[in-house]
Symmetry: C2
Subunit: 215 residues, 2 copies
Amino acid sequence: MSVKTLPTQEEVLTQLRVEILTGRLQPGQQIVQDALAEKFGVSRVPLREALKILEGEGQVTHHLHRGYFVAELSITDLHEVYRLRALLEREAVTAAVANITDRDLLAIAELATQVRKATATGEVLAITAANREFHFAIFELSEMPRLVRLLRQLWDSTDVYRSVYFAQAPNRERILLEHDEILNALSARNVARTVRWHDTHRDNSVATVSAVISS
Amino acid sequence: MSVKTLPTQEEVLTQLRVEILTGRLQPGQQIVQDALAEKFGVSRVPLREALKILEGEGQVTHHLHRGYFVAELSITDLHEVYRLRALLEREAVTAAVANITDRDLLAIAELATQVRKATATGEVLAITAANREFHFAIFELSEMPRLVRLLRQLWDSTDVYRSVYFAQAPNRERILLEHDEILNALSARNVARTVRWHDTHRDNSVATVSAVISS
DNA sequence: ATTTCGGTGATTGGATCCAATTAGGGGGCT
DNA sequence: AGCCCCCTAATTGGATCCAATCACCGAAAT
């Protein structure tokens, strides 16, 4: 019976992401390694390695002999991220439509219903997770792993702020409709329409988020 | 007299990059941490953190309990990287032209002559470094730091193979001419022409490199 | 009163040490 | 003879420990 080999390393990383995502570690705040390590029940070594990863993703910044700080996202940063996402996601989606099979369509439809279920519960964290899986299932179809990797980084860097988007009920409703539209466009193998709905999907998101950041 | 505090951490990272770039660590090869750490005269801790960074950049891969391996780049990987570069560099260059000042033009012209000088010496490592500075000076003008970061990652991941490009004398000649053309297009604030020369610059590069990889 | 200097405590960066997992090889069984 | 299993060695992953740096605070001097 496999007791399940647990990669403690990854564990810390995901926990760290949650801390940042939920705002328990707030933007600009210093990350005290000792405290966090104790909180997680691990030593500082795996924590530091996880932080190095997040630094590479731009989620945290590092100052020599001063430590790690949760990155702050300015409004211009946010717009840059979404501009880059627009660029890269168009490419990914275009390639995805070219590759998509009927089986893929079923799988993505299933993920869409997962988002719907999560929305019903109202748990923001579950919604963001499901939403992410839905979109990246599409991106993965591009069969461009590096492109997907870059997109993951961009998504990660704005996760904190995007969660506020899901916190608002009307947005949650609209998302479901937009997902359906995306699914329709995919089924029709219509590149232009798929891209267009992705664009509006993003635009709606960035609008609310930038409003929140400004305040 | 400031003895200058040396960030040992970065030191290891750049050394590692050189090892990979020069092929002393060959693609696919395992990285034995103890050996390298001793070779660098440091402990394994900073080495592991540097490796985590490189992993994030896709320069090395990591297998649990088996360690780090220098990443291998397939021909399809290479084409993906260049496709993404094309996408992102067009964006960067376009923004750069909008922002560029006369002072910037002078600085970039200076960097171009640095490339010329390095080419004269024939030292491949110096050429790649100078070439990189030239191009990223342009990219930086976009004033989109995240975009520049992504481009750095993409450049890093193919550095190993690009150096073979510089090893061939005729390529070195052509590069200088192309740099001049880019400089001209920038001076004229001509977006289309600047983008086009960047494209041909890249296409020439990818052609030779992919030929090398195939063999 | 304000500014500057020095000391002390806290926190990071790096080294050493220990446990856990994997790969490789030799021996035994079928 | 071939295959499988177990045992050992090597290497990684994580914990603990030590040194170096920075921030904070108070005191003294202008």
